[in-house]
């Protein structure tokens, strides 16, 4: 089962919650990387924080475009 069809099986509330969790984790990672001035902090920003936030945004946008309004 593809990721899109698995996402499609979820209700919009669950998709929004999943997007929120990913965005919150990503933003938390972004916050933590700003604590220290170090190359590892930059790598964590690029490789952990940004992908999590981007995935969350992607799921959020997918949720709103795939949601058929009632009626």
């Amino acid at each position: 089962m593809s990721m899109y069809s698995r996402l499609g099986n979820l209700s919009i509330e669950r998709r929004l919650r999943l997007a929120t969790i990913l965005i919150c984790l990503g933003l938390l990672a972004l916050l933590l990387t700003l604590i220290r001035i170090h190359p590892l902090a930059f790598m964590a920003f690029i490789l952990v924080g940004c992908p999590l936030v981007a995935a969350g945004i992607g799921i959020f946008l997918y949720s709103i475009v795939s949601h058929a309004p009632e009626g």
Binding site: T20, C24, G26, L27, T33, L34, P39, A41, A54
Partner: protein, 210 residues
């Protein structure tokens, strides 16, 4: 007044709080206002947070503290305090001829993440060697390519003391060769004492500046 970094932290924390609010209260999105809030909290603010965070990290990467944060660079940082004006970086650093907070970046503008894609991959390799490999001794670290006069000329080009220096005008074509990088500032037996970290054990240091 908050520093830009502190403002960035406050901004991300605010974005995080709003995103968490939507996560805990998904039913808010049933109302029009809630949907707008969700769009702001789950799209606009996170995108801005990533952009601002990237900008902040790039600025930090220009700082001397960033460059010297790896142990293998300690000796290079120490070389900035050598009490001998023949050490070119030390002379520039100690006399504020380069901004101390951005001392490394001022003369190495094309290094790792600020250089070409090839340089960026070399930066990744440095990280790999630092944490998963065996870092070389400081004295064995060399530039990949000869130091480009362009870095000196950022400031010295057009400078009267530089243009009128008799040593820079020994022959009529000398200045042109310096400007075109055909004659290196560093490797022409002129300003050839640079970081020279292999000699630090015998050097004395400017204690007051440390």
């Amino acid at each position: 007044m908050l520093s830009p970094a502190a403002l960035e932290i406050v901004f991300i924390a605010t974005a995080l709080a709003l995103a968490a609010l939507i996560g805990f209260r998904v039913e808010l999105t049933q109302a029009r206002g809630g949907r707008i809030l969700a769009f702001v909290a789950l799209f606009i603010l996170p995108v801005l947070a990533m952009g601002l965070g990237f900008s902040e990290h790039m600025q930090r990467a220009e700082s001397t503290r960033f460059c010297l944060s790896c142990h293998v660079m300690n000796d290079f940082g120490q070389s900035l305090y050598v009490d001998d004006p023949s050490y070119v970086p030390a002379k520039h650093f100690q006399n504020n001829l380069v901004p101390r907070e951005h001392a490394c970046y001022t003369c190495h503008t094309d290094y790792t993440m600020f250089g070409t894609m090839h340089s960026k991959f070399r930066g990744l390799r440095h990280m790999y060697v630092q944490y998963l490999g065996t870092p070389p001794a400081s004295a064995d670290i060399k530039l990949y390519t000869p130091f480009n006069n362009r870095e000196c000329l950022h400031c010295h080009s057009g400078m009267r003391a530089f243009l009128e220096q008799p040593k820079h005008n020994k022959t009529p074509e000398m200045m042109a060769k310096i400007n075109s990088n055909q004659m290196s500032c560093m490797n022409s037996k002129c300003h050839d004492t640079v970081h020279d970290v292999g000699t630090l054990k015998d050097a004395t240091f400017w204690k007051a500046g440390q």
